[in-house]
């Protein structure tokens, strides 16, 4: 019985542990509060406040509990538990009773048996209890109880069976047993009464339930007092029936009664309210609990994000009667999460950008490398090729029969075509790689147009009228990169001539207002900056039309017209030849200068290529400066009004203009205004008038923006010009385009100047001269390097002079003529780059002024001012250590022709000498 009692008590224990015992937040003296720091009276207050904070409709809450599923089930649970407890106790007691009854019955039966035994002297049959035979449990109990409480005592009697003494003894012992049994029974009844009493103490379920509820409530308060949580219950119309709210701001503004019975929308205003209302409604309709994050933006509590949990509430008939909702403020978390997401996103974006960038860089590098290689290759091809062409040209000056001359002409024109192609490629790769720098020079647009037309007319093989028309408002003097503009014009004109068989080709210039494409573009100013123009100068936009009456361009071919290596059609390419690079270069050049190149065309009627470019107008006060530059021209110009002349025409003369298929002689064409009254002599594609020698050459010089080799060719070396006269000029024999473009590029790219001056100027005498031992100058300060180089040269069969630094090199060049200079870059006193610049300056100016300025000893140089060699470009090969400061670009930029990287090997030296010494 004791164990049973304990069991019962333990059950109660288990039940009560559902809530922490004695956590009654409201009682100041309970265990929980004692555990808090002593004297923390605030806590207590808070607890009180926390209770007050609760806004509960106390009348409705029990209602709610009674009517809703959840509420009733909770109560039912509690009741059930209590009932179970009681049932259990009752069952145990009942069992107890049964056992006792049985024992008594047994005892009685035994007594009876004794009597019967005595009477019948037979074995008493086992008395089988009839009660609850079917119950296993009971049987077990029975066994147990019997074992424990009654035992199976055997009555041992010494006397002989069936004697009087025997019976007497047996009766006595039985009596004793009976007494003991009665005594036990009494004790059990006592115990039963006791336990009944204890039962009574447990018999007040309401009290116990209240206790539990109180605990639960206390626990809830304990948990919820500081939780950022709003809980509530709303009815079907989403009117609040109950709300627990932690947020004091809400409480300050709205009282309980203002909330209860109202909907969200009635209470709050602002963002998120509608959404939450909709969400609640959705849950109510679907009947499924759900969670959602909603950001509120209300006047009441500002911007806050809540994670809201809403569940539908059913009554016992499974009808929806409203919702329970719980909201937890997660503003910070959301903010953090969003920040994290943003960071992650940024990271991803950055990574993507990085990889994109690396890709781009990679591609750019590849492209640059490819372009560099193309440029190098072109350069490599050009040098030997120009040798071939040059030699062929020299060959053409010798006595040849008709067939040989024809073959040679084909050879020269093919060679020229390849040269032109290579020049174009070089130009293009320069523009594309951004290497090309624009120069700002003053020039006269009228003259440029005139000269371009003159040049074109000089090599014209068709009966075409070339005309130039320049509007009056076009300034006489503008600033821009005249070389490039000339190149564009020449390209366009030769293109026009190529595709025009009759009629005319012309250039029209006029001033236009700033075009729309330029107004918003920084490119324009960039280009101007590149042009070296300052803002104080006024700028002017000039539109230039190059028109023809040629075959025209079909509309579908227009888009790819400016693409590289493209011509209007394959047929055209076959028929007219050309590289297909000219227009692409023009377009790139125009765009580089901040302009635009467009085309309009009608098939069989002609095409018009138009480019508009910004120029700076040289201010009038600059004019005095110009005087220096143009004084010669003013002095010598036979027709001073030429500079303002706005119309030129070059008409084909009637009669035979071709001399047995050979080159056209320049004086077949006369300008409309009789610009060149006497027979013209051709000079590298320019129509030059001997009588107008100085003026003309000056004009050319101005026009070319400082290109000075050309005039000197004539002034200093008349025999060279004579040579050309003998050969009837090389330019007329080929297309003007090739001539002028190669010329233009050679003017610009001094580092690549291989094509014209050197080969061009080489006379037969010089050819012979080169077959002799060439004179080489090695400029090198390192003894060991000199020794090694000497040995190599010896093996190659050359000798050379040695200069130990730049100054010695200049001295040596001044006093003797060399065919090749091998120049170390880094040297004491005067390094190779500077020395090369000074030598180039000498070649251009014919004096060593620059060298003197740089501090090179003047006396050594003065007496030998006019060297015979001065007009010729001396090939200077750099010997670089291949470091950054000695890069090939640096060498080219300083006027060197090529470079050998150190250490110099026999092979490298051999190749270099082979290339530059003929």
């Amino acid at each position: 019985m004791e164990t049973d009692q304990q069991m019962e008590e333990m059950d109660v224990e288990v039940l009560s542990s559902m809530w922490p015992e004695d956590v009654g937040g409201t009682e100041p003296d309970n265990q929980f509060n004692v555990e808090k720091p002593a004297g923390d009276s605030d806590t207590l207050k808070e607890v009180d406040i926390a209770e007050k904070r609760t806004m509960a409709d106390l009348k409705r809450l029990p209602d709610l509990l009674n009517t809703t599923d959840q509420g009733s089930s909770q109560l039912t649970n509690l009741v059930k538990q209590w009932e179970y407890m009681q049932d259990h106790a009752v069952r145990l007691l009942r069992e107890e009773l049964k056992i006792l009854t049985k024992q008594r019955e047994e005892a009685e039966a035994k007594e009876l048996k004794i009597i019967e035994e005595h009477n019948f002297e037979t074995e008493e049959p086992e008395n089988v209890p009839v009660l609850d035979e079917s119950s296993d449990l009971f049987r077990r109990f029975k066994e147990k109880k019997r074992d424990k409480l009654v035992g199976r005592k055997r009555i041992e009697i010494d006397e002989e069976f069936d004697t009087v003494a025997y019976w007497k003894q047996k009766a006595l012992s039985l009596e004793k047993m009976l007494e003991a049994s009665t005594e036990r029974e009494r004790r059990l009844i006592e115990k039963l009464n006791e336990s009944l009493k204890t039962m009574e103490s447990h018999s007040a379920p309401v009290e116990e339930l209240t206790q539990n509820l109180k605990r639960a409530e206390g626990f809830l308060h304990f948990i919820l007092q500081n939780a950022p949580i709003v809980m509530g219950h709303q009815d079907k119309d989403l009117r609040y029936l109950f709300i627990y709210n932690k947020f004091p701001t809400l409480r300050e503004h709205v009282r309980d009664k203002d909330i209860l019975g109202k909907t969200d929308v009635e209470i709050f205003h602002g963002g998120g309210v509608k959404e939450s209302e909709d969400f609640k409604r959705e849950v109510l309709e679907k009947g499924k609990a759900s969670k959602r994050e909603i950001t509120f933006e209300t006047d009441l509590f500002g911007s806050k994000t809540f994670l809201i949990y809403v569940e539908p509430v059913y009554n016992k008939a499974r009808e929806k009667i409203g919702i329970n909702y719980m909201g937890m403020e997660v503003t910070d978390q959301v903010r953090k999460r969003e920040k994290m997401a943003k960071l992650r996103e940024d990271n991803a974006v950055r990574k993507a950008m990085e990889s994109e960038l690396t890709k781009t860089i990679h591609i750019t590098e590849e492209t640059m490398r490819a372009k560099q290689m193309l440029a190098t290759m072109s350069h490599e091809i050009r040098s030997p090729l120009s040798g071939v062409v040059g030699m062929a040209e020299i060959l053409s000056t010798t006595k040849l029969d008709k067939e040989q001359r024809q073959l040679l002409n084909v050879m020269i024109s093919s060679g020229d075509l390849v040269l032109q192609l290579i020049n174009d490629i070089l130009d293009l790769s320069k523009v594309e790689s951004g290497v090309m720098k624009l120069e700002a020079t003053k020039f006269r647009p009228r003259e440029v147009v005139k000269h371009v037309l003159q040049t074109a007319a000089a090599s014209l093989k068709k009966e075409l009228t070339l005309e130039g028309n320049i509007a009056d408002e076009v300034p006489i003097l503008v600033i821009g990169d005249v070389l490039r503009i000339r190149q564009i014009l020449t390209n366009l004109i030769s293109n026009a001539i190529k595709f025009t068989h009759q009629g005319k080709v012309g250039i029209k210039l006029k001033v236009i207002p700033e075009p729309s494409f330029a107004s918003g573009l920084e490119l324009n100013t960039d280009a101007e900056e590149q042009n070296g123009l300052t803002e104080t100068e006024t700028s002017v936009w000039i539109r230039c039309d190059v028109y023809d009456t040629g075959i025209g361009i079909p509309e579908n071919a227009l888009p790819c017209l400016f693409k590289k290596y493209m011509q209007a059609s394959a047929d055209h390419a076959r028929k007219y030849g050309g590289t297909g690079l000219g227009l692409a270069i023009c377009k790139q050049l125009v765009e580089l200068m901040g302009g635009q190149l467009t085309v309009t065309s009608q098939v069989n009627l002609g095409s018009t290529f138009t480019f508009i470019l910004p120029y700076k107008v040289a201010a009038s006060n600059d004019h005095s400066d110009d005087q220096d530059e143009f004084s010669d021209m003013v002095d010598h110009q036979p027709e001073p009004d030429d500079s303002t002349e706005g119309y030129f025409q070059f008409k084909p003369l009637l009669g035979s203009i071709y001399s047995n298929g050979g080159p056209v002689i320049g004086n077949n064409f006369l300008p409309h205004k009789a610009m060149l009254p006497s027979p013209v002599k051709l000079m590298n594609g320019f129509v030059a008038d001997p009588s107008d020698n100085t003026g003309q050459s000056e004009a050319v010089q101005v026009e070319n923006g400082g290109y000075k080799d050309e005039p000197r060719l004539e002034t200093h070396r008349p025999e060279t010009a004579h040579q050309y006269e003998n050969g009837n000029g090389r330019c007329p024999s080929k297309e003007s385009e090739s001539c002028s473009s190669s010329q233009a590029s050679s003017e610009m790219e001094s580092e690549f100047t291989v094509s014209s001056p050197r080969e061009d100027v080489q006379t037969e005498a010089e050819v012979k001269e080169t077959s002799k031992q060439p004179k080489i100058l090695l400029v090198e300060d390192n003894k060991i390097n000199i020794m090694v180089a000497k040995s190599m040269m010896k093996q190659l069969g050359y000798t050379f002079d040695i200069a130990n630094n730049g100054v010695e090199a200049i001295t040596a060049i001044n006093s003797s003529s060399y065919d090749l200079v091998l120049m170390d870059v880094c040297m004491p006193v005067l390094d190779g780059l500077k020395a090369t610049r000074l030598i180039r300056s000498y070649e251009e100016s014919g004096n060593w002024d620059a060298a003197v300025e740089a501090g090179v000893d003047i006396k050594v140089l003065e007496n030998k001012q006019m060297s015979v060699r001065s007009t010729n470009r001396l090939p200077i090969i750099a010997m670089t250590a291949n470091t950054l400061s000695e890069s090939s670009e640096e060498c080219y930029a300083n006027g060197m022709d090529s470079f050998i990287s150190k250490p110099v090997t026999l092979q490298k030296l051999k190749e270099c000498l082979k290339q530059y010494l003929h």
Binding site: K783, M787, T905
Partner: protein, 156 residues
């Protein structure tokens, strides 16, 4: 006698190859050897000895420049290093050249400590190379004296 020559020749070959393999020499040295012919049988030795003389002079002058901790004339040191680099590159003294490259870097940032370290290294390297090459030339001479020809050695 032939066996002696053959042995010497093999020794010479192995030694030369080892000099390349250990990085003392590079292809430029091969170039130098190519330049040597009947007309100039001692060309390599001459160049190399000139180089070593140069080395010792330059190293002396540089060590003087670097002697005092203050007011180091780095420009002068730099020119010395440049000379040395050019020379070593020309004769194919690879290790010397490599030290010169880092020497020059130290010089560019005016790092005296680094310069001194490099100077020591250069000194060590060139002396090392000197003894190695002396051995090589000795071998050469022995071959010639034994009546053999200097074998062609194909490096790579």
């Amino acid at each position: 006698m032939n066996t002696v020559v053959a042995q010497l020749q093999r020794q010479f070959q192995d030694y030369l190859v080892s000099l390349y393999q250990q990085g003392f020499l590079d292809n430029q040295f091969t170039e130098l050897r190519k330049l040597q012919d009947e007309g100039t049988p001692d060309f390599v030795a001459e160049v190399v000895s000139l180089f070593f003389d140069d080395c010792s002079k330059l190293i002396n002058s540089m060590s003087r420049s670097l002697e005092r901790p203050e007011n180091v004339d780095f420009k002068q040191v730099d020119s010395g290093v440049h000379q040395l680099k050019g020379s070593s590159s020309s004769v194919g003294a690879r290790r010397v050249k490599n030290v010169c490259i880092s020497f020059k870097e130290c010089c560019d940032v005016q790092n005296r400590e680094g310069c001194l370290r490099c100077l020591q290294q250069v000194d060590y390297e060139y002396k090392m190379l000197k003894t190695k090459l002396q051995d090589l030339f000795n071998l050469e001479q022995q071959i010639v004296q034994a009546g053999g020809a200097i074998p062609q050695v194909n490096i790579n």
